[in-house]
């Protein structure tokens, strides 16, 4: 974990998933991390621009990486699986192919944009606080032990695979979320679908197929007795949270399991102000019982 | 009553199996069959191709193109065939890299064969090769290209000019896929995962094939006017072999039993660079790109046996040199070292990526940094089913092409890159000739009689239901070690005689093989046992022929007869099947332009 990052929240955290942004800023402050704003960045492309116009995707990625570089930041901090994979994938291509990088830089120069020299890394908040000094730092601020809270970790896809781009941990048996859940004093729940796909990339274009995927982690987490699901990706969060009702109808079951952003779980253990979590922005409400287990102030004193 | 009925949409001979320990079978044919199973009719094709590797698929595509009803029978899905493991390349005198001619290609092949190859066939082979390459490319084969967009050609062992067309070091993979694509394009019928147990001869004519349906069990009689054998080689006779598990000489055994002699079986090529752990092939292309062979002292020992060609001498020469280094104590842990470290990572990653992956996976070394330990392994059977240069055998209606066949193109030793070309040239020719014969003659009248099917069923049932005796795997291992130890690169009378005695003993013991699996569905215990029987018959032919040939020629190297003896031995060995015993015979070699010369590299 470093002291200073270029902060790349991504589109969803800036818009429909604003609660992720506020929670992230709050936990960053507690961890004494400086988040340098990047006001001029665009969407990372979300894999869609990569698919539709691959060369354009490389250009906007280089521009984003170049901006971080010019601000003197070696590392971009991301809080979304999709941003992480897309920026890292572009970064790898740009770092490995000098001719490609030169051509792109020429174009960026021509339009007056920042060029990129290949010196930036992109790391997800999950990676920074789940090992090494970051893990120690988090443990030291995790003043509240969320004992009794059963948390099912949902990794999703693009923070794990392909491992030759991401490479932080074993994609078949990751443990970073489990370590953090334990550091929060809570109990991690294991279930097979924790590394499978939530379906978000096709939830609009192929809703039925996506729901067939989405029901699996929801079903399994609920059956295993989890109180909440935690995820490091705002797109997975949107699927699991906002599409939960549709998934329930598809499966003919009730789920009713609230979904937490990683920063919210960490924040709860760190005793952060509830207002930062913006739980009201969740479609699947947190019940008073869950709030009590999260030990958020508004729940304290409430009948469990 | 019909617990399990084995039938095909086109089956006239229906095998109804009643599930009792004695496994009796009921055969229904003709009008009775049609009454009981109205949707069923005769399985009959004009041409059956047995085997779906390069030769088989090329033959089938050719026959289909010429408008005959052809079907392929294969014990594996086509793309699983061993042709796909070929690495280095396919030869043709295109003249893309340097000046070249098919005469030069022919001469190199003749010399490489140690003058045992039939020169009329070799001339046809070399002459037709270039057009076959262009046709493969038009079909879509993905070859490595030179800067001008033409097909690249690399140097290979014992070739006078660089004429090996290649795709990095996965040429076989690329070719097997392009032919499979053409098989789909031409909508060729494939009986997939069918294991042929007999080639039926009816009154002297080939009548078709009896095959066991591995997926659901049961024997099928599949009649045909012509059967083209394209079943590949028999490397699994040996412990150290580059060959897949499936290379068990089934087609050679089928032809032998059907009355076709096997030819030149003593000539089994050992590839110089195979891995010790599992025999996997490291392509000659590594040496073609400049790799060296070193002994434990770091010396390039090839300078002794082949001062001009060095590592790119003919395979038999290199294998002997290596075997000697190892046996004389100058090896490293039973191997010599294939050194690619001076080639640089760029060349290795672009031209030899497959070899690098194999070395990492199966020898635990990265050839960019470390030499690869290698030793000779059984690789290619120059011998095989006796046939002419159209693939026709002496049993009318029975043909052969590819490694299973012995035309002979390769004589006593094969050049690298010639085997892939052989499959295409002679697969095409056999497909063409069989198709033309169909168009000329039509129905040959040969049939598979119910009694023949019944006998075969009894034989297979006998093996299937047996639970006494030894396991097939144990006998297979014993055979393989005996062959590697006593019929390997260097042979003596004594060792071969011992080997022959063991092979005969194993053939005896293989009459009672203990199977664990007596079921019908996907019974690979059964197919393993059948493969063992093929291996043993081929081994018997090989050892008997080797014992008899008292000279050294090509891959057959006798320590007690070290010279080549053209006066007595410039002839092909034939092995007839006399009721399961090997009977030797001989036939002259066809010489056209090139009288035998001393052979050195």
């Amino acid at each position: 974990m470093q002291e200073r990052y270029a902060y790349y929240p991504g589109c969803l955290a800036s818009l429909s998933q604003k609660e992720l942004d506020s929670s992230t800023r709050a936990i960053a402050q507690k961890l004494d991390i400086e988040l340098v704003e990047m006001p001029s960045v665009t969407c990372c492309g979300a894999g869609d621009i990569h698919e539709a116009k691959p060369d354009y995707y490389l250009h906007i990625s280089a521009r984003i990486l170049g901006q971080a570089e010019q601000m003197g930041c070696e590392t971009i901090l991301s809080i979304c699986n999709v941003c992480t994979l897309n920026l890292r994938q572009a970064n790898k291509a740009l770092q490995e192919d000098a001719a490609l990088l030169n051509r792109i830089n020429d174009n960026l120069k021509e339009v007056g944009a920042a060029t990129y020299q290949g010196g930036v890394d992109i790391r997800h908040l999950l990676w920074e606080v789940s090992e090494g000094n970051g893990y120690e730092a988090f443990k030291s601020i995790a003043v509240k032990s969320l004992e009794g809270l059963k948390v099912a970790p949902f990794y999703g896809c693009q923070i794990l695979r392909p491992s030759k781009i991401l490479g932080f941990e074993n994609p078949d048996n990751p443990q970073s979320l489990e370590r953090l859940i334990e550091a929060c004093g809570a109990e991690p729940i294991d279930y097979p679908a924790k590394v499978k796909c939530c379906g978000f990339p096709i939830v609009l274009a192929r809703e039925d197929v996506a729901l067939g995927e989405l029901v699996q982690p929801l079903e399994q987490a609920v059956e295993a007795g989890a109180d909440v699901i935690v995820t490091p990706c705002p797109l997975c969060h949107l699927s699991l949270d906002a599409w939960q009702r549709k998934a329930a109808d598809f499966a003919g079951k009730e789920f009713g399991i609230p979904i937490l952003h990683l920063a919210q779980l960490l924040g709860a253990a760190a005793g952060i102000e509830e207002s930062e979590f913006k739980f009201k922005r969740h479609v699947t409400r947190l019940s008073p019982e869950v709030k009590a287990k999260l030990q958020v102030p508004s729940a304290i004193g409430t009948e469990a | 009553m019909h617990d399990h009925v084995s039938r095909s949409r086109d089956a006239c001979y229906v095998l109804a199996v009643v599930r009792t320990p004695a496994y009796p079978a009921v055969y229904v044919r003709g009008t009775a069959a049609r009454r009981l199973f109205p949707e069923v009719s005769v399985i009959r094709h004009d041409v059956i191709v047995l085997g779906a590797g390069l030769a088989g698929m090329r033959a089938a595509i050719e026959a289909k193109r010429r408008g005959v009803d052809v079907a392929v029978i294969s014990k594996l899905h086509p793309t699983r065939s061993h042709s796909g493991a070929a690495e280095g390349g396919i030869n043709a005198a295109l003249g893309n890299a340097t000046e070249d001619s098919s005469d030069s290609h022919a001469f190199d092949t003749i010399k490489g064969s140690d003058y045992l190859g039939d020169q009329d066939a070799i001339e046809v082979f070399a002459r037709e090769a270039p057009n076959d390459i262009y046709e493969l490319e038009h079909m879509g084969a993905v070859f490595t290209r030179a800067a001008d967009g033409k097909l690249a050609q690399r140097p290979f062992g014992a070739a006078g000019a660089p004429r090996t067309v290649y795709s990095a070091d996965i040429t076989g993979h690329v070719l097997i896929h392009v032919l499979y694509e053409q098989l789909i394009k031409h909508d060729v019928k494939v009986y997939e995962e069918f294991f042929a147990t007999q080639v039926v001869v009816d009154e002297g004519r080939c009548a078709g094939v009896i095959a066991w349906d591995t997926k659901s069990g049961g024997l099928h009689a599949i009649e045909a006017n012509h059967v083209i054998l394209a079943t590949g080689g028999v490397g699994r006779m040996y412990y150290g072999t580059t060959n897949a598990f499936a290379c068990t000489g089934d087609g050679m055994s089928l032809a032998w039993r059907a009355g076709v002699p096997l030819k030149d079986m003593e000539f089994l090529q050992f590839h110089p660079t195979t891995l010790k752990s599992n025999g996997v092939l490291i392509t000659e292309g590594c040496r073609g790109e400049g790799g060296y062979l070193r002994n434990k002292d770091g010396d390039r020992f090839m300078v002794g046996d082949a001062p001009n060609a060095m590592e790119l001498a003919s395979r038999d020469v290199v294998s002997r040199a290596e075997w000697k280094e190892i046996a004389d104590g100058r090896g490293v842990d039973g191997c010599v070292m294939l050194d690619l470290t001076h080639l640089g990572w760029k060349k290795i990653k672009s031209r030899l990526p497959g070899s690098r992956e194999l070395a990492i996976d199966y020898a635990g070394v990265d050839p960019i940094e470390t030499p690869i330990p290698v030793r000779p392994g059984a690789h290619y059977m120059m011998g095989g089913v006796d046939c002419d240069l159209w693939g026709e055998t002496m049993v009318p209606g029975l043909w052969a092409a590819g490694e299973v066949a012995c035309v002979s193109i390769h004589g006593a030793n094969r050049l690298g890159g010639n085997s892939l070309m052989e499959t295409i040239v002679f697969g095409r020719r056999a497909g063409q000739a069989a198709a033309e014969r169909v168009l000329e003659q039509g129905d040959t009248g040969a049939r598979i009689e119910p009694g023949v099917l019944a006998d075969e069923d009894r034989r297979i049932a006998g093996i299937l239901n047996n639970d006494q005796g030894e396991r097939p795997g144990a006998l297979r291992e014993e055979l393989a070690k005996t062959m590697y130890d006593k019929a390997g690169v260097f042979r003596t009378e004594e060792a071969l005689a011992e080997c022959q005695a063991t092979v005969h003993d194993l053939r005896e013991r293989a009459q009672t093989l203990r199977l664990d699996d007596h079921g019908s569905v996907f019974n690979t215990d059964l197919t393993n046992a059948l493969e063992l029987l093929s291996l043993l018959e081929c081994a018997d032919c090989l050892v008997t022929s080797a014992l008899a040939r008292k000279e050294s020629r090509g891959a057959h190297s006798r320590l007690d007869h070290t010279e080549r003896d053209d006066e007595t031995w410039l002839k092909h060995t034939l092995n007839w099947c006399d009721d399961g015993e090997v009977r030797l015979d001989y036939r002259p070699v066809t010489i056209t332009k090139h009288q035998p010369l001393a052979r050195s590299y």
Binding site: I60, N107, A205 | V142, H177, A244, A495
Partner: protein, 351 residues
């Protein structure tokens, strides 16, 4: 009998010497007769260099000959031995046993997913082959005159389909495909990678028809981007990347009617206009206004939670004119670009 010179050369001493180890495997069996599954655990002695396939062979030879699995080359080129090892598909011949033995771990071996099981580790590959056939997996040069020698293909053009041409049709990608698990009719990563192998082949001239077929239901836009295929492929084919390339080719050829393509277009348009994704446009532009209206109750649910951003003030990045200029520049560049084509040798000779 006279002493033969060099008689010691017949046999290589120590040819079979190898260190051995004990390996334990837990295997999911499927009995086609009783239609029941069970787990059997075996311990076998194998060489330290043994692969999972070698261990299966040892089991079959010495413990239980009824164990059924496919194999052939044992060197990761034929594609026969795909199976799930600890829940993820891999080639048994390419998976060394030693690392499991050293870790004291008993692996669980089961058949590949997304395909019917015939017996034990043998799956019915027929649905797999059907999907390969469905993408017209052979070169089509259509009415082009067949040259008398080879088509001229520039090495860098040949490289475009290098990864896709490595595919050995093993099925490991299909086994783990999350989209196919939810929709068995999805063409899937293997068929789509094979499709790109032809779309990207500069000799093939059937590009538009191929893309038209792939842009339909169960095609390119059904991929859920779980990247399991890239992760599991033993040959580095990267099928997901091939699917993305098919998407790019579809855009180049103007096939943008599928909802998936429209979805992608919103990202392109948003980013180059305003910098951030215009989330409110995403739904109607992807699924169309009629379907969007049908989904209003759902939208209201999201709106109640504040998840529908103000459509009238899209979030713009600072210095956005830069991005608009970049767009114009790239559009101009793209207009000039021609689809790479193989050259007819006659054209080269004349030219």
């Amino acid at each position: 009998m006279t002493e033969i010179k060099n008689a010691h050369l017949t046999t290589l001493k120590g040819a079979y010497d190898t260190e051995l180890m004990e390996a334990t495997l837990r295997i999911r069996r499927w009995d086609p007769d009783t239609q029941r599954a069970r787990f059997d655990t075996f311990t076998v002695t194998v060489p330290v260099t043994a692969s999972v396939l070698d261990a299966l062979d040892a089991i079959k030879d010495t413990h239980d000959g009824t164990l059924a699995y496919r194999k052939s080359c044992r060197m990761a080129v034929c594609g026969s031995c795909g199976m799930r090892i600890d829940g993820g598909a891999a080639l048994a011949c390419k998976t060394p046993m030693k690392k499991f033995v050293d870790a004291g771990h008993t692996i669980t071996v089961s058949p590949m997913g997304n395909l019917p099981v015939i017996k034990d580790l043998v799956v019915d590959m027929a649905p797999f082959w059907e999907k390969i056939r469905a993408v017209k997996p052979y070169l089509d040069t259509k009415d082009e005159e067949v040259p008398d020698t080879e088509w001229r293909v520039a090495p860098e053009h040949g490289d475009m389909i290098h990864k896709e041409s490595l595919c050995i049709l093993c099925g490991c990608c299909v086994s783990e495909c999350n989209s196919m698990e939810s929709d068995p009719d999805f063409l899937g990563p293997a068929a789509l990678a094979k499709a790109y192998r032809f779309v990207g082949d500069t000799r093939d001239t059937d590009t538009r028809e191929r893309l038209r077929d792939l842009n339909g239901a169960h095609g390119i836009w059904d991929c859920t981007r779980c990247y399991f295929c890239n992760q599991r492929c033993p040959k580095g084919v990267d099928p997901r990347d091939a699917i993305a390339k098919l998407g790019a080719e579809s855009f180049k050829e103007g096939f943008v009617r599928d909802e998936g393509a429209r979805h992608a277009k919103v990202f392109v348009d948003s980013t180059f206009k305003g910098g951030y994704l215009r989330e409110t446009e995403l739904v109607p532009k992807t699924i169309g206004p009629v379907n969007a209206v049908k989904d209003i109750p759902f939208a209201l649910q999201l709106a109640r939670a504040g998840k529908v951003p103000n459509p009238l003030s899209p979030h713009k990045a600072k210095d956005n004119d830069e991005v608009k200029r970049l767009w114009k520049l790239l559009e101009k560049e793209a207009k000039g670009a021609e689809r790479p084509r193989a050259q007819h040798p006659d054209a080269v000779r004349e030219g």
